[in-house]
């Protein structure tokens, strides 16, 4: 045990780790928001609710069908993604020609509906979800104890983020996607089914949120309001990073998680607000956001 700036290393690294975990969720969620915004020009207010649905899906799959964590990691995002596709077909596709504000209002309404239904059904208190056996336990790194599940969350989220970045920036499908973001009419003229791509993009962004939810279930309790507070922080993250860049969204997410973790060590009172303060400063210095393309 040693000290850094008068803080015991265990506390410092512990908070750093928590920061990285939060950062993983910020990155996953802001990435999903950025992908959706790029294609649909909509800020998906339902994102937090969809993250919560992912966690609930994992919980319910285990409770009702005995389906374990590993399977839930695939099935839950798939289920919530399908619901996302339905939402796009039923509601969002009708808003394409309208002011983006209406997309925000509609997805806000959907978030209220989903949260309300879940609260009616399962109450407001958190439900426990155990981490899988294989990931239980801690490793002693010498300078700190590292719970295996937390390390897994960071690694998995990083992997998923980078895979998404690769798929969008480096593959053929991704190039269609980027082209359709720039000029949907032209891409359609080349014989690519843009509305279907929009639909699937929304489903994919939503599935990312749900995946985050499954990963969060063993760390935080599963509760209906777990998404609504998180999504506001993620909005601030998105404002700081700017939604122009995929890599930017990932980096900003992790970085802000770490900053938040450090704030908990050095000035705990501000840990809830530090991200918002950073947002205000970024708005003053670089209104377009750190990775934004234009003001």
């Amino acid at each position: 045990m040693f000290e850094i700036f008068g803080i015991p290393s265990q506390a410092l690294f512990g908070q750093l780790l928590l920061g990285l975990i939060n950062g993983s969720f910020y990155a996953l969620l802001s990435l999903g928001l950025a992908v959706i915004f790029g294609m649909l020009n909509i800020i998906n207010f339902t994102h937090g609710a969809q993250y919560m649905m992912g966690a609930f899906a994992a919980y319910l799959l285990l409770q009702n069908f005995g389906i374990n964590y590993w399977a839930a990691l695939v099935i839950a995002p798939l289920l919530v993604g399908i619901i996302g596709v339905l939402i796009e077909r039923l509601f969002l596709q009708h808003l394409r020609k309208l002011d983006p504000l209406y997309g925000l209002l509609l997805t806000f309404g959907l978030a209220l509906i989903i949260e309300g239904v879940f609260r009616n059904q399962w109450g407001s208190s958190g439900l426990p979800y155990a981490a899988p056996e294989a990931l239980k336990g801690v490793v002693n790194l010498g300078f700190m104890f590292l719970p295996i599940y937390r390390a897994w969350v960071i690694v998995l989220s990083l992997a998923v983020c980078l895979a998404t970045w690769f798929a969008i920036e480096r593959t053929r499908l991704g190039s269609y996607l980027r082209a359709a973001t720039e000029n949907p009419v032209l891409v359609r003229a080349f014989g690519i089914n843009v509305p279907r791509m929009v639909m699937l993009t929304y489903g994919f962004g939503v599935a990312l949120a749900a995946l985050g939810g499954v990963m969060a279930a063993p760390i935080y309790n599963v509760s209906p309001q777990m998404g609504s507070d998180l999504i506001i922080v993620v909005f601030a993250v998105v404002v700081i990073g700017g939604m122009g860049s995929i890599l930017g969204a990932i980096l900003t997410g992790f970085a802000l998680g770490i900053v938040e973790g450090l704030t908990k060590v050095f000035y705990p009172e501000a840990s809830n607000t530090v991200i918002f303060v950073i947002m205000a400063i970024v708005l003053l210095m670089r209104p377009a956001g750190l990775f934004g393309r234009s003001a």
């Binding site: 309208l98 002011d99 309404g109 209220l112 009616n120 809830n272 607000t273 205000a280």
Partner: protein, 322 residues
């Protein structure tokens, strides 16, 4: 892209404001009869929220700026006036003015930050700033944390009128509401208001015509925040309570719902919307979380089926301005 955020695009001069006059008189008559038919506290609450929604509409309906953080101004004005009245023993008129001034100052800061980004970002920034101040209210000593500031004295207005009497309080709330309502009407029909509408329709073009749109937007934001604060201060006096509910994001959602339901960019829409939503929250309270679901459904239905809102649709059908 179609600018659908312009339900007031109805030709302005048709009916030449006669419809507005008639509606205004009808509204006053209803408010005069109201307390003899309905519980006065309910009416006062609805009036406070009607004022809140009108202030909000000034921004979203006439400048096209969608704030998701107006609870910030409502809630903090509510805290400030409650604290001034209780801890410092300020008379009600000074407490309300003080709370409103706090909202104006916050509006200046939050507005200055938020107008640096457009469109969808504006909504996210206002929401994030409001959430920051929510946490501040949660942690600060003087707000009383989870308990809020309770037992705020209503006091004697100008040392003359005893506001603990429900009818006196009602008249006070009504007078403040009507004054603010007329002020907002004057603002949107002034040359300044015309520039705001021009910004809503086409900001680039307004800039090219030589208007410093940033200043107009900031002033509109501050005005909206100030009047939202006035509503919050009055509300804390009515309920003798300022609490975390007033600064929570759900409050921002509520005022958005009221305005959307009543009709964005209509004169009377926010009032109608506020009365409906407050009545709904009152009478559906026993159904618990279903209120949340119903509110969500109203959002979805409004966005998909009638974006003009109730008053906007009525005005369109009757081909008048309301």
């Amino acid at each position: 892209m179609e600018r659908a955020l312009a339900p007031a695009l109805l030709t302005k001069d048709r009916g030449s404001g006669l419809s507005l006059g008639v509606a205004f008189v009808a509204m006053i008559v209803l408010f005069a009869i109201g307390p003899f038919v309905v519980y006065p506290v309910f009416l006062m609450k609805a009036l406070c929220f009607a004022l809140f929604a009108c202030a909000f509409n000034l921004l979203i309906g006439y400048v096209g700026l969608a704030s998701f953080g107006h609870a910030l101004f409502f809630g903090w004005a509510s805290y400030a006036s409650a604290y001034a009245a209780k801890a410092w023993g300020w008379p009600p008129e000074l407490a309300v003015v003080g709370g409103t001034a706090v909202a104006a100052a916050l509006g200046f800061v939050a507005g200055g930050l938020a107008i640096r980004r457009q469109g969808i970002y504006f909504a996210m920034i206002t929401l994030a700033l409001a959430q920051m101040m929510y946490f501040f209210a949660l942690q600060a000593k003087f707000t009383g944390g989870e308990d809020g500031i309770q037992g705020v004295p209503r006091g004697r207005l100008f040392g003359l009128f005893d506001l603990s009497h429900e009818m006196t309080m009602y008249v006070f709330v009504l007078v403040v509401f009507l004054a603010a309502f007329i002020l907002i009407y004057r603002i949107i029909n002034s040359p300044f208001g015309e520039v705001l509408k021009a910004i809503r329709e086409n900001e680039q073009r307004t800039i090219s015509l030589g208007y410093k749109t940033e200043r107009y937007k900031l002033l509109a934001f501050v005005l909206s925040a100030t009047l939202a604060g006035l509503a919050g201060a009055m509300n804390s006096l009515v309920f003798q309570l300022a609490s975390l509910t007033d600064v929570h994001w759900t409050m921002s959602g509520d005022v958005l719902l009221m305005t959307l339901l009543g009709g964005l960019g209509t004169v009377f829409g926010p009032v109608v919307g506020a009365f409906i939503v407050v009545a709904m929250q009152n009478y559906l309270a026993p159904f618990g979380q279903w209120v949340l679901v119903i509110q969500g459904v109203i959002f979805v239905v409004c966005v998909l089926l009638f974006r003009r809102g109730i008053v906007g649709e009525l005005a369109r059908l009757a081909r008048v301005q309301l």
